[in-house]
Each structure stands twice: as C-alpha cells, then as structure tokens.
Symmetry: C2
Subunit: 358 residues, 2 copies
Amino acid sequence: MINERELKRFVEAVFIKMGVEHEDAADAAQVLVKADLRGVDSHGVARLKGYVRLWENGLIDPKATLKIERETIGTATINGNSNFGLVIAPKAMKVAINKAKEAGTGWVTVKNSSHFGIAGYYSMLALEHDMIGLAFTNASPLVAPTFGKERMLGTNPIAVAFPSGKEQPVVIDMATTTVANGKLEVAKRKKEKIPIGWVQSDTGDLSENPKELEVGGSLTPLGSTLTNSSYKGYCLSSMVDILSGVLTGANFGPWVPPFVPFLANSDNPVGEGIGHFFGAIKIDAFMDVKSFKKRMDLWINTFKNSTPLYKEQEVLIPGEPEKKKEEVRIKNGIPLLDQVKKDLNEIAKKFNIEKQFT
Amino acid sequence: MINERELKRFVEAVFIKMGVEHEDAADAAQVLVKADLRGVDSHGVARLKGYVRLWENGLIDPKATLKIERETIGTATINGNSNFGLVIAPKAMKVAINKAKEAGTGWVTVKNSSHFGIAGYYSMLALEHDMIGLAFTNASPLVAPTFGKERMLGTNPIAVAFPSGKEQPVVIDMATTTVANGKLEVAKRKKEKIPIGWVQSDTGDLSENPKELEVGGSLTPLGSTLTNSSYKGYCLSSMVDILSGVLTGANFGPWVPPFVPFLANSDNPVGEGIGHFFGAIKIDAFMDVKSFKKRMDLWINTFKNSTPLYKEQEVLIPGEPEKKKEEVRIKNGIPLLDQVKKDLNEIAKKFNIEKQFT
C-alpha cells in the first residue's frame, strides 16, 4: 500500500524531469493518482510508462502552452500544441467552466493533445461550481464498426458528472465499448480467458483470447453482438469521435495517434494529435441550484432504495463504487501490482529520482 | 402503400379535431409521418391512437402555448403547459437553434410535455442551420437499473445529428436499452419469441417472452447482461433522465407519466409531465463550416469504404439505413400493417373524418 500523497509526489517529480512546468506536473499527477484512488487502476500510475514512452518518442512538447484559436461567449477552440493531454485537459475544462459562467453553458474543443487519463476527472471539476461537467476524448483505434473488420474507432469514453445535495454526486465515466482495453490487460496479466462478448477476432467471431487485439482482433462496441444492438455502441463511439476529432481539428477514426505500444502512428494524419470535447452546464441557468440538488438527492435515494433483485446486492448509483473505493484508499493507501512497482522503479532509475517502490 | 402527403393530411386533420392549432397540427403530423418514412414504424402513425388516448384521458391542453420560464444568452427553460410533445418539441428545438446563433451553442430544457415521437427528428432540424443537433427525452418506466427489480427508467433515447458536405448527414437516434419497446410489439404481433438479452423477468432472468413487460419484467439497458456491461446502458439512461427530468422540473425515474396503456400515472408526481433536453452546436463557433463538412465527408467515406467482415454487407454510417428507407418510401409510399389501418379507420370514424385506409 502506498499513500496517495507519496505517489503523487513521485509522479509529479517524473513529469518535472520530463520538462513539464511545476504547476502542470502537479495537475498531471493529480489526474493519474485520482484514477488509482477511484479504483480505475488501468488508467492510473500503471500507465506512467506509457506517458514516458510518448515523451521519449519525441511526441510531446512539455513546455507548450494552450492557444485559443477561436471563441464565442460560450465556446472555445483550443490548440494543445503537443503538450501532455494530462496537462492540457485540466486547463481546457477550466475554460469551459468559465465560459459557462457567462453564457449558461461552456463548450471547448481541443486538438493537438494526447492521452488524458480518466475522462471522469475532468467532468468532476465542474461539480464545485454547481455545474454539470462533460468530457469526451477519442483514442487508439481498437474497435471495428458494425459489419466491419478494420479497427476504426477507440474506446472513446463518455464522462458526465452531476452535482447533488447531501448525497454523493452522480458520476458516469464509461468507455463506449463493452469493456475498455484495461480489462484485457488484467486478464493477460492473470493468464485468464475473457468472457464471450468483449472482443471479436479479425474474422468477426467472438473470442475468449485476451491477446486478440495484438493479432488483428477488435474490442466490441457496447452491445457486444448485432442481436443485442452493438451498432448502438458504434453510434456512441462515432459521436465521441466526431465531437472530439472532426469538430476539433484533431485526427479522427483510424488516424488517431495510438497510446498502446503495439500500434504505429499514421504517416498521413488528417489533423493534429488526438482531440477532446469538454462541456460545463451551469445549473442556475436552468433552475434554482437548491431545487436541483434536492431533486438530485431524491433521484439518488429513490434509485438506491428501489427493490434489488438479490438481497445481498443493493442498487448502485453511477459513480458510487468508485467513490467507496476512494474513501478506502485515502485511508488505507493504494495497492500497486508487482509489475507496476517494477515499472515505476525503472522510471525512477531512468530519471535519477531517489525512490523505491517495494 | 399510402403516399406520405396523404397520410400527413389525415394525421393533421386528427390533431385539428383534437383542438390543436393548424400550424401545430402540421408540425405534429410531420414528426409522425417522418418516423414512418424513415422506417421507424413503431414511432409513426401506429402510435396515433396513443396520442388520441392521452387527449381522451384529459392529459393534454391542445391550445396551450410554450412559456420560457428562465433564460440566458445560450439557454432556456421551457414550460410546455401540457400540450402534445409533438407540438412543444419542434418549437423548443427552434429556441435552441436561435440561442446557438447568439452564443455558439443553445440548450433548452422542457417540462410539462408528453411523448414527442422520434428524437431524431428534432436533432435533424439543426442540420440546415449548419449546426449539430441533440435531442433527449425521458419515457415510460420500463427499465430496471443494474441489480434492480423495479422499473425505474425509460428507453430514454439519445439523438444526435451531424451536418456533412456531399455525403448524407450522420444521424444517431437510439434508445439506451438493448432494444426499444417497439421491437417487442412487432414480435407480439407476429407471435414470435424474442432473442435472449432484450428483456428480463421480474426475477432477473433473461426471457424470450415478448409480453414479459406486461407481467412485471423489464427491458434490459444497452449491454444486456452484467458481464457485457449493462450498467453502461443504465448510466446512459440515467444521464438522459437527469438532463430531461431532474434539470427541467419534469417528472423523472419511476414518476414519468407513461405512454404505454398498461401503466398508470403516479399519484404523487415529483414534477410536471415528461421532460426533454435539446441542444444545438453551431459549427462555425468552433471551425470553418467548409472545413468541417469536408472532414465529415472524409469521416463518412473512410468508414463506408473500410473492409467489411462479409462480402455481401458493407459498413453502414449511422442514419444510413433510415435515409435509404426514406428515399424508397417517398417514391413508393408507406406500407401500413392491417392492424394500423384498422386503428386509423377507427380514429377517422371517431372524429368524423371522411377517410378509409384499405
């Protein structure tokens, strides 16, 4: 178990060593460690070596600042200028929040960015401003469209956070595939088969092989099979790709620069970097904040107290499992897998940081 | 086969007989017949008797006008004052479009409305203004949350339409359940079983019975089973319910006034009517319209021409099957089932309209 502050300090030091400004490094560390705290281990410090790889490959300008290339009272188009997504995205979400103060809602597109960690983090930044927050991003092409064989789309997540009153906020953060790639990585590490419905082979057959993606297979869009409406997952992923990629000036579809090591960058990009789409909706623009929060608490309690199917498992609210995990991990610390500790120790060595994860 | 204009004239006449203003009746008829044209037969004139039933039950004020109860430069909160959803929604979407002209994006919440037909219709109203259109609504509670037994959510659709250049626009219009109730109605009519994954019984077991909802069962959220992430469908449906219900002042969750005849209205409502959420995003606020359309065409052609799994089935673009159906039906007319003709003839008789569907 490692204490969150200790882990954050280490991650911050790594980003500083890569040339990121101190304040930006703190932001980036905050996003990554928040993923570990919330139990989204696939998107936390386990991925630090992925960010280091991007930097080593010369794909990151760690000193770059954001440029607003176009704006209206309620919108902004931002060029991330090739900094880390983890540095760009917190700033872009803040622009959306400030726009919402003026225009009721704020919407920001970002191009020339890279992998930004957990989408949920950014949506949650809106909560303290009594706003609903939204965050989308496109991602490494690992998903074939319905009836398709080629991998054209990413796990393209949708994150939305709703403020509440006395209850915990409702936080949705989901890949638009049946499962995210992280679940395959876990199965690979444990040398286990995966359930039918998560991936298809390059012949379109459902597969139990967690390494299927490395031999041309693809993640299934949410819905899993045509009978159970996987074209809806394809639609959702397309929506995220168009908002995050086409509308931003970033790459889209099969051109999205990959984060996973087994895919190469396209040599004829159709835009700059990967893209994000952020939104902030000021509650007060639509309804008295106090009334809204009371209604949210009623929504939450009504769902929580609805009759469960099984005595031992109550109905959960979106974001509730992550919040519970966070409470435990703030108290007891964050567990790290041996492989992750090994990776972090190698990173420490690479950057001459005196730190040993044991 | 019936000609679309002939069908529209009849539907318009019915709404006028119920006391709706002429222009509003034309709007309502347009929405319903558009569903039939696009092949979404479950949401077209087959449902006219449902709207008549709402009116007969005294739930509709056909003369009511919309009231904007709160607004900012980019947002509006609308009270539909109990008119038909089919009358309220086209006007509300127009408000969103006009707001977007000023603020870059426009967002409108609606309460005190009723079933509004196909969500896709409203999202598509934005296209001719070079805007992205969004339309959400909550609906009759027919879906149990993950781990739950009680029906707490509707099929709560998400519709998004993206303008394009030379290609057809991308139009997403999907229930957040595995399938919409309309597919069960079709199976019932044909006396067929339904595939495993669409509905669960009130004990949580998957069922092949298309009448399962009438005996306490529920539609599964998109994803179908816990293994294949049905909690994501639950999350999406919750998002639509909170935006359309909680944020609007309408009813939400189990309190949403039902459209289906086998459910009763709640006697302790938490809001007024059902609710909708509309959005319009002006392309020009983010990017030159010409560039965007060129990029959209590239997106569309890239997906369309990607390698298919099977020689005989190319990859489809969201909205493409509906558009193709529309072209055929504009030319050849709309086929109506015998049961639907019978229902329409009864409505004609009820309102003394000289019209016979044969």
